[in-house]
């Protein structure tokens, strides 16, 4: 199965990203150890020059990680045609050991990469670069995680055999089962809707506060992280049923298919982007010694919070549209 073009592209992209990150590793270590903007030593001047390059390389690696997540999900969906029993990406991810771990690691890397980019953008707005040392410190942890994700993904793809009979979303998201996903599928509609609504409101209010004052970025990040989990649970619990117009179909992956207007991308796209931006803002505040966004970076942070607000608005519109146009009625 390794000779699938999309799989080759994913492995290739991982290789490029790891090479780029490896190049920055030594520099990252030096920055963490020796960075001091108040000194005018030759080493400091060299570090300042090299951080420009390293930041560009890492930004490039970030872009790779983002697109890799999209490509992995779509590839898993497209490959489902090759496995007996697979109807969507779940079947493909189940067809060999490590499929879901590879996906989870990829999602983790996406949020890490996107948050790093936000921190980097905000840091660039400050004349004294208050986040530089911390953001390069993060790189030291990022590279091992990238290698782990690439290794796990490669291990999973190498294990894919086309003669495997796999189980698909019908089993994983069956409300009568005993697993965690089954519990989510069985979450009653009314409380699930309330939870999703409250969670959305909380994130929107927090984003509004950051957009207006530049304060409260860490709270926004915390609420966005919780919101991501609540929204995903809501998608499994009731959004999926409205999309498929079937009360017992709870798969969050089938909705990525063209048969359902690829509405899954319309839901997960704004959700993931808004979460990533919020996490980035919170991380920037956390890394700053004052535990808030550095003053010179506040205008940009407020603009990014505006983007979060817009993405939340798009997400809400998509969810309302899904429920409105569906012929299924889960509540009287």
């Amino acid at each position: 199965m390794i000779f699938q073009p999309a799989i080759l592209a994913l492995l290739f992209a991982d290789l490029v990203a790891i090479l780029l990150l490896s190049w920055t590793l030594v520099l990252a270590y030096r920055v963490v150890r020796h960075w001091d903007l108040h000194r005018s030593t030759a080493l400091q001047v060299r570090l300042e020059r090299q951080t420009v390059l390293a930041a560009t390389l890492v930004a490039f690696a970030c872009l790779t990680q983002g697109l890799s997540l999209l490509l992995l999900v779509h590839t898993a969906d497209a490959l489902s045609e090759l496995f007996t029993g697979a109807m969507c990406a779940v079947g493909t991810l189940n067809a060999a050991p490590g499929g879901f771990i590879a996906l989870d690691l990829r999602i983790g890397l996406f949020f890490l990469a996107a948050s790093w980019l936000v921190v980097h953008l905000l840091d660039g707005r400050c004349p004294d670069y208050p986040l530089t040392r911390a953001k390069f410190g993060l790189l030291l942890g990022w590279l091992p995680m990238s290698i782990l994700a690439a290794w796990w993904q490669g291990f999973y793809f190498l294990g894919l055999k086309s003669d495997v009979i796999t189980s698909c979303c019908g089993g994983l998201f069956d409300a009568r089962g005993a697993s965690f996903t089954a519990e989510l599928s069985g979450w009653p509609v009314r409380p699930a809707m309330w939870a999703v609504g409250i969670s959305w409101l909380a994130v929107t209010a927090a984003a509004l506060r950051v957009a207006l004052s530049g304060n409260g970025a860490r709270l926004l990040a915390l609420l966005a992280a919780i919101n991501l989990l609540v929204m995903e649970a809501g998608v499994v619990s009731f959004v999926s049923s409205y999309v498929y117009e079937h009360p017992n179909h709870h798969c969050p992956f089938c909705m990525l298919k063209v048969d359902y207007q690829a509405i899954g991308y319309g839901i997960h796209g704004p959700l993931f982007l808004a979460t990533a931006l919020s996490l980035g803002l919170g991380l920037a505040a956390q890394l700053n010694p004052t535990r808030d966004i550095p003053d010179p970076a506040r205008p940009l942070a407020r603009r990014l919070a505006h983007v979060v607000l817009r993405l939340s608005g798009v997400l809400a519109l998509v969810l309302v549209w899904v429920v409105q146009r569906s012929h299924l009625r889960l509540m009287e």
Partner: protein
């Protein structure tokens, strides 16, 4: 909205200025860039041709198999394909979930003159009258046959059977009908030595598509010597086959890509005197390292995106207008009576993304470090 828009525009204006400067700088070094651009375009063209062709073939196979029966039952004897009798057919009728069972009569005929195998078949509905046949465009081409001509076939009984050409298939259906001859049952049985009451295989329709695998299981219980072939399995096999061929070609081409990336690195590292002077001047008038780096990256992005676009369009024309002369034999396979067909255009967004990963990413990655080395050049060192 207005506020954000007004704040976004300086950034866009800044990038537009970088692009403008990059385009002018590239224009001044046309001769230096054109060779690289041509090699890059050729590379994208090759990779995109492979991907577009394989994708169109997969789609075509899916369309063709859409009308195939959900389940075909063949019988094996000593591990080889054997005929099925009317009694076998009756034994399958009782299986719940089976709709219609159509016994099929077909076989292969080797023609020593054209050195090709033909597929002889009796259609279940509306067969040609006895003594007449309908032939595929490929057979008509290699044997120079037209409607009304007599065509003689040597039967299993040792005798020659002359049949009149009643009609030919249109070229639109050539992919499936190129080597096909349709004839009446009374002509086919003596030609292929199939006794009365025996059939080549059985086509089963299953009312509920989800039950196909279950029906196949029941067929195996009633006829242990049977081999059920599922349409979904056929589709999977085609899919895997084309994917595999495409992947092998892409892997081979990746080596070329690697050589290209090394070339890009080498080219980008060797700054010309003119380019050094230009960077020196930019830094002397106040450009920051990051800005010079951004400008150099825009140069790379313009070069790679234009090569990507032109290469992709050329590949599209190559595959869907010129029917893929460079790749046909490798991806389609080979046969004496290979059908001549034009693939309907198909472009897939993810396929474009995959190609983007293969080509633009390594190119820009190879550009970054040499571009930075250029960007950190001290202005006084260059100007002196």
């Amino acid at each position: 909205m207005g506020r954000t828009g007004s704040l976004m525009s300086p950034w866009i204006e800044r990038q537009a200025a970088f692009i403008d400067h990059a385009v002018r700088a590239m224009g001044r070094r046309r001769a230096h860039q054109i060779g690289l651009w041509l090699v890059y375009t050729l590379l994208v063209f090759l990779l995109a041709s492979v991907m577009l062709f394989a994708h169109a073939l997969r789609h075509e196979a899916r369309l063709l198999l859409r009308d195939a029966p959900e389940l075909v039952v063949q019988r094996l004897e000593g591990g080889r394909h054997a005929l099925l009798s009317a009694a076998h057919l009756e034994s399958l009728r009782a299986i719940r979930g089976v709709g219609q069972i159509v016994p099929r009569l077909w076989g292969y005929y080797y023609d020593p003159i054209s050195r090709a195998n033909y597929t002889l078949m009796t259609p279940h509905d509306d067969p040609p009258p006895p003594g007449r046949m309908i032939i595929g465009a490929g057979i008509a081409r290699v044997r120079g046959l037209a409607v009304g001509d007599l065509f003689s076939l040597k039967g299993g009984d040792g005798k020659s059977h002359a049949l009149t050409v009643h009609g030919t298939f249109s070229s639109a259906s050539e992919l499936i009908s190129s080597d096909l001859i349709l004839m009446h049952e009374a002509d086919l049985r003596p030609l292929l030595s199939i006794p009365e009451g025996w059939y080549t295989d059985l086509a089963l329709t299953v009312a509920q598509p989800r039950e196909v695998a279950k029906v196949a299981e029941k067929v195996m219980q009633r006829l242990p010597e049977a081999r059920p072939i599922l349409r979904a399995e056929l589709l999977r096999t085609y899919h895997a086959l084309f994917d595999w061929r495409e992947g092998i070609l892409l892997t081979l081409l990746s080596v070329v890509l690697l050589a290209f990336v090394i070339l890009v690195w080498d080219k980008a590292s060797g700054l010309g005197a003119e380019e050094r002077r230009e960077i020196g001047i930019l830094k002397a008038i106040g450009w920051q390292t990051g800005e010079v780096l951004a400008m150099k990256l825009w140069e790379g992005a313009i070069l790679s995106l234009s090569a990507f676009l032109v290469g992709y369009v050329l590949a599209y024309l190559h595959i869907f207008v010129a029917p893929a002369p460079l790749l046909e034999a490798m991806l389609k396979g080979w046969a004496v009576l290979y059908p001549a067909f034009v693939l309907p255009p198909r472009v897939d967004g993810v396929q474009v993304l995959t190609l983007f990963f293969f080509t633009v990413f390594p190119f820009i990655a190879a550009m970054v470090i040499p571009a930075w080395k250029a960007a950190v050049t001290d202005p006084d060192a260059v100007m002196r």
